[in-house]
């Protein structure tokens, strides 16, 4: 096995991983950084983010407002001290990106422009047309090239963490092009592998968003926190799940039911006005909007197409010129994928799974419970999103906490002793053997695609927008069954060079475990909060029993063990989450 000795290994080269790598390089140029990613960095799913990234810039805005929006939006399941740190550091990180060349959209006077986003009281979403994630990712990737201490391992697939002496000391990866294994020794490891949206059927996520890093940490005893909170984005393309950014609504788009009626006013988000108004109507939070869709569907007021129910996202009144300026990608997507001219026709949309609020449990400094192991980005639960993430908070999170994770890991690496290579190699060899077994002895009868599909279907049924004990239990059972059937999987392709059949099998293994963490966390939370909404007698939020984080622990072949952890409250006591006129009345 090939060995590379690094000081800090970073798994994942999306926004979070790249920002962390730069932070390590700037903290100490002498530290050797290994940046490992299963795809070339610019393919990471950060590239798909459209709408924007939050940071307070306007004079009428304040950090407190951003804090309150975030904590209220998260239904008070946020770590408030972490949110305070977050909102305070967003502006400098966005400016930093600007200095690195991010092509933020501008006002005529040359200052950065901001747009409105759901659940935000004041416009504070920085944007680069509707390709914000694309521009942030490419800016970070291209900037990272400046630092000679960052050694990239592009298209290397991480299969395991290596821990010894009670701390993490490296990772094992497959070089995809050759199928060879490599041990990257490191004194600190940062996981930045992104979300797990692909465990659901209809979703906005890229094919690579399979929860790998979550499963890696989980298997090594780190709890997955708040996994039941999966965000449904209300405006996605039926069938493919492709996203039409919230910025469509930020720019003034309407959601219409089959009668052409702006139905959101029936769900506590009104009254309806022509101009977009923060926290009203279409600019309500995602969980509320997705839930309203569900009710409209129950009432038979949605439209119906080849991929089931949908409603209309109407952008026509914005006019072609503005659409092309502010939402060019949306325009292109509607035209090429659906044959629709959004200046002339409304776009059919429906909710789809979008974002994993929960993740690897870390403290406010991105450290996990395993010494030397850090996590950041969508794979982590640092505590800012609570039960429902506000749009544009997660791109900002990548930068704020990417930098923090980098500096923390750098200082840990500097003080940690080097591990004993021999014993690390032995452990890595054991991981290698397990994965090679999966290649060699996988002539079973279970097709990867079939298991994947059954999993995704079952997750959608059990852990959708609204949840019932019965269907959640069915999902838990199904997942247990699928994990058993996984042992009888078939990997047709036995070769080594770019064997994506093999990689998909490994990913499926990760996904099944993460899915279990989600389903079991969900069935155990007997209340409704944020993205977790029940219809079986637990329709209300229950702060007495459930103002706490769920923690899912890996339990080998059995179902995960679910425990709970306290929520840190500093200055915002749990209150009523209200939007629209009711929100104004409640002083939000």
């Amino acid at each position: 096995m090939e060995i590379y000795a690094a000081d800090v290994a970073i798994v994942g080269a999306g926004g979070a991983g790249l920002r962390a790598a730069i932070a390590v390089a700037e903290a100490d140029p002498a530290l050797r950084i290994a940046l490992i990613s299963k795809v070339y960095p610019m393919r990471s799913h950060t590239v798909a983010a459209e709408g924007g990234s939050a940071a307070v810039v306007q004079s009428q805005d304040s950090l407190d407002y951003h804090f309150n929006d975030t904590v209220g939006g998260g239904d008070w399941l946020c770590e408030q001290d972490v949110v305070e740190y977050f909102v305070a550091h967003c502006p400098e990180e966005m400016v930093q990106l600007e200095h690195w060349g991010c092509p933020w959209s501008r006002k005529p006077d040359g200052h950065v422009n901001v747009r409105a986003f759901g659940g935000m009281k004041i416009e504070r979403t920085w944007f680069a047309a509707d390709k914000t994630g694309f521009h942030m990712l490419h800016t970070l990737f291209q900037t990272s090239i400046k630092y000679p201490s960052i050694r990239r391992f592009d298209e290397h697939f991480c299969i395991d963490l290596v821990d010894a002496d009670g701390r993490v000391q490296g990772i094992v990866a497959i070089e995809i092009r050759s199928g060879r294994f490599i041990l990257v020794k490191a004194k600190a490891v940062i996981i930045a592998t992104g979300g797990a949206g692909r465990v659901f059927r209809e979703n906005t996520n890229g094919g690579i968003v399979t929860g790998d890093g979550m499963a890696l940490a989980y298997r090594h005893g780190v709890a997955l926190r708040d996994m039941e909170f999966m965000q449904y984005h209300p405006t996605c393309m039926p069938g493919t799940g492709l996203l039409f950014t919230e910025a469509c609504r930020g720019e003034g788009g309407f959601l219409l039911n089959k009668d052409g009626y702006r139905y959101l006013q029936d769900y506590g988000l009104g009254p309806a006005q022509d101009k977009p108004r923060n926290k009203y109507m279409e600019l309500g939070p995602r969980d509320r909007l997705s839930q309203a869709f569900w009710y409209e569907q129950q009432k038979g007021r949605t439209l119906s197409g080849p991929y089931g129910a949908y409603v209309d996202l109407d952008l026509r009144h914005l006019g072609k010129a503005r659409l092309l300026e502010r939402l060019p990608q949306i325009y292109e997507m509607a035209e090429t994928f659906m044959g629709i001219d959004p200046a002339k026709q409304p776009i059919p949309v429906r909710p789809a799974v979008h974002y994993t609020m929960g993740g690897i449990t870390v403290d406010g400094r991105c450290a996990t419970s395993l010494p030397g192991l850090y996590a950041v980005g969508e794979c982590a639960s640092v505590g800012i999103h609570g039960a429902n993430r506000l749009g544009s908070n997660s791109l900002a999170e990548l930068c704020v906490f990417g930098k923090l994770a980098g500096t923390e890991a750098a200082s840990f690496a500097k003080s940690a002793p080097s591990g004993d290579t021999k014993s690390l190699v032995a452990r890595a060899a054991a991981s290698q053997q397990r994965i090679e077994e999966l290649l060699k002895n996988s002539d079973g009868s279970e097709r990867i695609a079939t298991l994947r599909k059954e999993m995704a279907q079952s997750m959608e049924e059990g852990c959708g927008i609204y949840r019932l004990a019965g269907s959640m239990q069915a999902t838990c059972d199904k997942l247990m069954e699928l994990r058993q059937r996984f042992r009888n999987i078939k990997v047709e392709d036995k070769s080594r060079v770019w064997n994506s059949n093999w990689l998909m099998a490994i990913e499926l293994g990760y996904q099944l475990e993460v899915a279990q963490a989600i389903a079991h966390s969900a069935i155990n939370r007997k209340e409704s909060r944020g993205a977790h909404q029940r219809l079986d007698g637990y329709e209300k939020r229950d702060d007495v029993n459930y103002l706490k984080h769920s923690l899912a622990y890996f339990n080998a072949d059995a179902a995960p063990r679910i425990e709970y952890g306290a929520v840190k409250i500093t200055k915002s006591q749990p209150g009523i989450r209200a939007y629209g006129a009711a929100g104004d009345a409640a002083g939000h």
Partner: protein
């Protein structure tokens, strides 16, 4: 399968043989490149004319006479077609070679640049034609 831990990589490089036949875009490109042969041939004709001119009236008239031969006329018809095609493609490519041309704060479209190029060629053509005709008529 036989290379358990080894390296089975063997990147395959495809040949470029006959690439210009692979799609119509390339074929057109090769045709407009080939117009250079006609430009060259015409340049030779002109050069010879220039030399003959410097050699006096008799030489010049011989050159003019040669131009009147049927072969020469046919040849020049071909040259005319080729050079006209060259001019056409030249202006098609022109927008790709210019920095943004701003007109009243707006960027001139590629089609507009091509149109201006063709218009310029038309004007120059008429000017030269009438100059030659008018001056010596």
């Amino acid at each position: 399968m036989n290379t358990p831990a080894g390296n089975g990589r063997r990147p395959y490089m495809r040949s470029m043989q006959g690439w210009w036949r692979r799609n119509t875009f390339y074929v057109e490109y090769m045709i407009h490149e080939a117009t250079a042969l006609f430009v060259a041939a015409y340049a030779v004709v002109l050069l010879v004319g220039l030399v003959r001119l410097s050699q006096g009236q008799a030489a010049w008239n011989a050159w003019l006479a040669a131009l009147r031969s049927p072969g020469s006329v046919v040849f020049h018809v071909l040259v005319l077609a080729a050079i006209s095609y060259h001019a056409w493609t030249w202006f098609q490519i022109m927008p790709r070679t210019l920095p943004p041309v701003m007109l009243k704060g707006k960027r001139l479209s590629a089609a507009a640049i091509t149109r201006s190029g063709l218009a310029a060629a038309a004007i120059v053509t008429l000017m030269v034609f009438f100059l030659v005709r008018g001056l010596w008529a």
